[in-house]
């Protein structure tokens, strides 16, 4: 084939037919990827902090205060003086997960990312939805750092939003200007206040934080359990499959709401409990979807090619099957989030939610008795909730079109 | 196949006479008009990348009792062309210009509803994938009988008898026994036969078959082609047959229209086109066929072994001859102006290539010169770059 007789040159030439594969055989290939290392590195401080919180911080003390007291670091100066809950730790860990396994890969593969983006941006409503969700996400993340937590101030109750007025009789004390016996809104409370004098705008922004926590943490739990159960079920087959699918049946038919109410009466239920209960009983559909998707993907020729390459089943599943099922369940998950947000709002409205948190549902509940003369208390968070849910739905549809490979061939035909 | 269908034929052709009387719309058609006459048909689609010209001004006719083959690679616009004939293209995003006359009546001027009636009654379609076209929830007989009763008001028993008859006509063995079976109990070839039976329900004058044998095994394919040929002869059907397979064309066609990038490259009686192909594209297509060297002595060696490059971008077709960028015989004159006009190189045999003058011998194509081959390579290269640059 080749006239090149220099053995060294042959060994070095990057040609497939000159590689001595025997020499490579047995080499280790299953190394931990850089992404995983970086994720572990960034998530470690959070885990450490959570551990410290549990072990060292006192009952009435925030973890930052305890840490500052122990190390003499001026943490308060950085605004780190708030109480950290278990939900916050989980939220931070989830965010890192999303950054390292969703955002970073998109930057690492700009070619495919721009391909997805080109197809995604064809869908105008989805673009607007994405922008809106960025607002909610940014507001939820940064808002609490900028705005003070909502506080009761009876004297400032029922203030109208900017540009609106309300009869003075309904207001304990008008913060803005009074004209013709009507109290006007001020920029101190851009969206008015509740009966207790809590700023609706502040409430809406803090509600964004709660909603983002619900969205991210439930998604992670549901996706984690769903993908694991679905893939294992599809690949193991036999009795494992059978057991897993019956478990899914149970999860799907489980009366989650009643169970949550039971937990609520026995233990009392905070946001953390809500998230845990609802996501632990919310993965059934996802698992079923992943299973069917994994079964169909494993029939694809590129999976067979993966097996033919000599790769272990684990590697084929991890590298080919899971990514190809995961991208299509992104859609399913974005459509699941609105359900959780709505459930939280409904429970809060019925007075069954966590009254210590400033969720949109709580705000709506607070305004329901004053609907006649102070509709903004209900309308402002209500509209934001409605828009957010709508945005998730639009986003889900657009993501399906953007990342589904079958849609690729259809569209490019 | 003709044998067991002959009983049905007498019945069927009698009904055809009645049927055509009922569907003729008396629009001043004369018997001189061809069954189907297409002139300047141009179908474009609005896309984000600009107007996509799928079919770029093609003409052809189909006479009664004749099979015309539209042949071309995928992307040549052949399927869009036949779908444009009878309103199977949604407008928008599609836009259809030109004239389609069926028995002398202009189809493009008809409102959609009338067009659908035409499509149902006088023009029948057979598609590539019979399994997609049959409803798996109902028996074959049920579907046939329904089609018959939609078309004419007959009793259940009469419709059933006619359904059995039709199945017999298309060569389904034991039609009486199998009429109550479901589509999944039929093989691929039998399903295609059932689809043809469905198409015959309305006693059409024109049968449009879009790659009807592509999904079938070669043994089954031969039977279906034979059937279409028999039906053409028995019913005097006009058949418009769309395919990418030249070997199929040689078996069934009376006349051939070779399409490339939405334009007609060459047309003529099948014997002329196959024995004395004129256009470099036709020659290259014939030379591509595997395992048939012996059949191809007439064709020069220049085209053997595939056609380099790929189809031009339909949103920005090249100047001059559409095939010039891939043509081994291309000269600079080939890439200017519009697609060359068709010139006659035989009786009904016409070619759109600047290398021919009217009356030339189709084998008079000059050998590709060095410079032409060079030009071809560089243009293929640049076409490649375009594709890459596009991303």
């Amino acid at each position: 084939m080749s006239t090149d007789t220099d053995p060294n040159a042959e060994a070095d030439a990057p040609r497939f037919d000159r590689v001595d594969w025997e020499a490579y055989a047995g080499g280790r290939t299953g190394r931990v990827s850089t992404t995983t290392k970086l994720f572990a590195l960034t998530v470690a401080p959070i885990v450490a902090l959570a551990g410290y919180d549990r072990v060292a911080a006192g009952e009435r003390e925030t973890v930052f205060d305890a840490f500052a007291a122990a190390t003499d670091l001026p943490l308060q100066a950085f605004g780190l003086d708030f109480a950290v809950t278990a939900v916050d730790y989980a939220f931070a860990a989830t965010l890192l997960l999303f950054v390292w396994y969703l955002v970073v890969p998109l930057f690492q593969h700009p070619r495919i990312a721009s391909h997805y983006w080109r197809r995604f941006k064809r869908n105008r409503p989805a673009l607007v939805s994405l922008a809106w969700l960025f607002v909610v996400f940014g507001g939820g993340l940064l808002g609490p750092l900028v705005l003070n937590a909502p506080e009761q101030n009876i004297l400032a109750g029922h203030q109208p939003p900017v540009g609106l007025t309300v009869a003075e009789a309904n207001v304990p004390q008008c913060v803005g200007e009074v004209a013709d016996g009507r109290c006007g809104g001020t920029w101190e409370y851009p969206l008015g206040t509740t009966r207790g004098g809590v700023g609706v705008f502040t409430g809406v922004v803090y509600g964004m934080t709660i909603s983002m926590k619900i969205a991210f943490i439930t998604t992670t739990i549901v996706a984690g359990i769903g993908i694991t159960v679905g893939t294992v079920s599809a690949y193991a087959g036999g009795w494992v499959d059978e057991v897993a699918m019956r478990a899914v049946d149970i999860v799907l038919s489980f009366p989650t709401l009643l169970f949550f109410l039971l937990v609520l009466y026995v233990y009392g239920a905070g946001l953390g409990m809500f998230i845990v209960v609802f996501s632990l009983f919310g993965w059934g559909g996802t698992a079923r979807y992943v299973r069917s998707k994994a079964l169909s993907v494993s029939e694809e020729e590129f999976v067979k090619a993966g097996r033919l390459s000599g790769a272990s089943t684990r590697r084929v599943v991890r590298r080919h099957v899971v990514p190809n099922t995961a991208s299509s369940i992104i859609t399913q998950l974005t459509l699941l989030i609105p359900g959780f947000l709505l459930a939280e709002a409904q429970l809060a409205f019925l007075g069954l939610g966590d009254s210590s948190i400033a969720s949109w549902g709580q705000l709506i509940a607070a305004g329901r008795s004053d609907l006649a003369f102070a509709p903004w208390i209900v309308l402002a968070p209500g509209i934001v909730l409605f828009l957010t849910i709508l945005a998730f739905n639009f986003l889900g549809d657009a993501l399906l079109d953007a990342v589904d490979p079958e849609a690729t061939t259809e569209a490019e035909r | 196949m003709t044998d067991n269908g002959s009983g049905a034929t007498a019945d069927g052709s009698g009904a055809t006479a009645d049927g055509s009387g009922a569907t003729a719309d008396g629009s001043g058609a004369t018997t001189d008009d061809p069954l189907l006459a297409v002139e300047g048909l141009r179908t474009t689609f609005e896309t984000e990348a600009g107007d996509l010209v799928a079919v770029d001004g093609i003409d052809f006719t189909v006479e009664r009792g004749e099979t015309v083959c539209l042949v071309g690679e995928s992307g040549s616009g052949k399927t869009v062309a036949v779908e444009s004939l009878t309103g199977l293209i949604d407008q928008p995003p599609g836009r259809i210009e030109g004239s389609v006359r069926f028995r002398g009546a202009e189809l493009t001027a008809l409102p959609p509803k009338a067009l659908r009636r035409h499509r149902g009654a006088s023009i029948a379609y057979v598609f590539q994938n019979p399994q997609d076209a049959l409803n798996h929830c109902y028996t074959v007989g049920w579907q046939l009988i329904e089609a018959i009763q939609v078309h004419e008001d007959v009793s259940d028993a009469a419709a059933r008898a006619r359904a059995i008859d039709l199945l017999d006509t298309v060569g389904v063995p034991d039609p009486a026994g199998r009429i109550d079976e479901y589509p999944h109990q039929f093989s691929g070839g039998e399903k295609q036969r059932v689809m043809i039976a469905m198409a015959l329900v309305t006693e059409p004058d024109l049968l449009v078959a879009d790659e009807p044998t592509t999904a079938l095994d070669v043994t089954t394919q031969a039977g279906i082609l034979q059937l279409l040929d028999d039906l053409k002869a028995e019913y005097g059907l006009g058949v418009l047959f769309v395919t990418h397979d030249l070997a199929t064309v040689s078996q069934i066609a009376d006349r051939v229209v070779v399409l490339y990038a939405g334009t007609v490259m060459e047309r003529g009686p099948v014997v002329d086109v196959f024995e004395r192909p004129a256009h470099p594209y036709t020659r290259a297509l014939l030379a591509c066929l595997p395992g048939r060297e012996s059949d191809l002595d007439a064709v020069g060696g220049a085209e053997r072994g595939g056609i380099a490059g790929s189809l031009p971008d339909p949103t920005a077709p090249p100047d001059g001859c559409r095939f010039a960028p891939r043509c081994a015989h291309a000269e600079s004159a080939c890439s200017t102006g519009d697609q060359p006009p068709e010139v006659a190189v035989g009786d009904g045999h016409r070619v759109s290539c600047i290398h021919y003058d009217p009356g030339d011998d189709p084998s008079a194509l000059p050998d590709p010169t060095e410079s032409a081959a060079e030009a071809e390579r560089s243009s293929v290269e640049s076409a490649r770059q375009d594709v890459i640059g596009d991303e």
């Binding site: 084939m1 990057p14 040609r15 497939f16 037919d17 590689v19 594969w21 490579y24 055989a25 080499g27 280790r28 190394r31 070619r111 495919i112 391909h115 694809e300 590129f302 067979k304 090619a305 033919l308 390459s309 000599g310 790769a311 190809n324 991208s327 061939t409 | 044998d3 009983g7 034929t9 007498a10 008898a161 063995p173 034991d174 039609p175 009486a176 039998e190 095994d217 070669v218 394919q221 039977g223 082609l225 990418h244 397979d245 070997a247 078996q251 066609a253 014997v271 196959f274 290259a284 591509c288 066929l289 595997p290 395992g291 048939r292 059949d295 072994g305 595939g306 790929s310 890459i388 991303e391």
Partner: protein, 466 residues
């Protein structure tokens, strides 16, 4: 050593069992997809495997590569420096792919690769094609990413693409280009055997020629052996040295490509060849028409599996009919015995016959019979039944005629069992009773047809290709 085949497949069998009922499943059905297939491929040789869809050729390919576990049989692979080994004492072979353990199988993956039919789904849509191809060297231990990339880029150029296409994604390639990429992926580990499963049937004709030529060039350059699977025998003719014809899970004929195509020794091969459309528009298109459809591999016919469709099916002693008439008689018999034709359907056909105007006949035999016969409604009905099922109105052989008449009468009187019994008794063929064995016709050209058995009636070793 050089005579030793690279791949030697012996009695390869793959049966699928379909089960139903979840946890408490039971075996319900056994599909014999591949039923005792044997062939050899020598180093540097291309063997074609042809047959209709459903004949088991793709299952054979994936069983050879152990993508599916074969039910039985040996697949002995002597490539990759394994040559020279003999059988063990217990009859097993150290190079038997079906007995390879995990590590041996992984090493085997380097030496035998596959290209698929569907270019659209053969690459992971979420990986760049370069990454997909470079995964194979990685799996086999080459951790040096630079070197992997260099090898893959070099290979991309060898299959007619350019090195900078490494970072592009599958959706950016045409079908033909993807098939080139698939070839690159199959070659990257420098295999000895390439299995090509319908590699061009999803491509345009103009692209097919390119890919076939590329396969041929690569085969010559790297000394590859190729198992080429296709339903299109003209493609096989183009690239293969030897050809094996499969029908219903069995090989019926195998030999040098030219011999198989020029002097086919099995009726099925004849029929396949005759079905291929020629490029000559003047040819009459006079094909051998196979009757019926491919039987279910769950319940293959006894004896020669092709006998239910064969145009050369043997007539037993004492019957001497025109071969096409004999075929129709047998078809009628099969369908009555199988219950496909019963008294209900016969009566329905008779009604249809009455309803249609004109005589229910078109064939001359029948027309003649109608002219001479003057009968009551019964004989009319009987004639209609015969016409409807493609049988002549009268047979020259009185025994045959009587048997058919009895059966038709039984059907008309509603006695299905008696009709089936009469026909089953009267018409038998040796093809249904004897499984054919391979006979050798010329160097390496073998076929399994009872026509080649001189000891059978009608066999006499005669097989004159028309």
């Amino acid at each position: 050593m050089s005579d030793a085949p690279l791949l030697s497949v012996r009695d390869l069998t793959k049966h699928y069992t379909t089960t139903r009922g979840g946890l408490f499943s039971r075996e319900t059905n056994r599909i014999r997809a591949v039923d005792g297939v044997s062939f050899d491929i020598h180093p540097g040789e291309a063997l074609g495997l042809v047959g209709e869809s459903g004949c088991g050729k793709s299952t054979t390919a994936s069983s050879v590569l152990r993508l599916t576990e074969p039910t039985a049989g040996d697949v002995i692979f002597n490539g990759g420096g394994r040559g020279g080994a003999g059988r063990n004492d217990d009859g097993t072979h150290p190079n038997d792919v079906t007995r390879f353990d995990r590590n041996e199988l992984k090493a085997f993956r380097r030496d035998a690769q596959l290209i698929f039919q569907d270019p659209a789904s053969s690459f992971d849509p979420r990986l760049s094609v370069g990454a997909s191809i470079a995964e194979l060297p990685l799996v086999h231990g080459m951790t040096d990413a630079e070197r992997r990339r260099a090898i893959v880029e070099d290979l991309l150029e060898r299959v007619g693409l350019s090195a900078d296409e490494y970072d592009r994604y599958p959706h950016e390639f045409s079908g033909g280009e993807k098939q080139r990429l698939a070839l690159a992926r199959a070659l990257v580990l420098n295999p000895d055997l390439l299995v090509a499963d319908e590699p061009v049937s999803a491509l345009d004709v103009s692209v097919q020629a390119d890919i076939l030529r590329l396969i041929d060039d690569l085969r010559a350059e790297f000394g590859l052996s190729v198992l080429f699977i296709s339903h299109d025998i003209s493609v096989v003719r183009e690239v293969c040295d030897r050809t094996a014809v499969m029908y219903l899970g069995e090989i019926v004929e195998v030999g040098p490509t030219e011999a198989v195509f020029e002097t086919p020794q099995h009726p099925y091969t004849e029929a396949l060849l005759s079905a291929v459309p020629t490029l000559d528009p003047r040819s009459s298109g006079d094909h051998i028409r196979l009757t019926g459809s491919v039987p279910s591999p769950a319940d293959p016919p006894s004896g020669c599996r092709f006998h239910t469709r064969c145009h050369r099916v043997i007539q037993p002693d004492g019957i001497d009919l025109d071969q096409s008439v004999w075929r129709r008689v047998l078809d009628f018999r099969e369908r009555v015995v199988a219950g496909e034709i019963d008294s209900a359907s016969v009566r329905e056909r008779v009604r249809v016959g009455e309803a249609s105007p004109g005589p229910p006949a078109g064939r001359s035999e029948r027309a003649a019979a109608d002219d001479t016969e003057v009968g009551g409604p019964d004989t009319d009905d009987a004639a209609r039944v015969r016409a409807a099922y493609d049988l002549p109105a009268t047979f020259r052989d009185p025994d045959v005629d009587r048997a058919v008449a009895d059966a038709v009468a039984a059907l008309l009187s509603g006695d299905d069992a008696r009709a089936a019994e009469t026909l089953a008794e009267a018409f038998t063929t040796p093809c249904a009773d004897h499984a054919p064995e391979f006979t050798t016709h010329s160097d390496g050209h073998r076929a399994a047809c009872l026509r080649h058995r001189p000891d059978l009636p009608g066999g006499m070793g005669v097989f004159d290709a028309e």
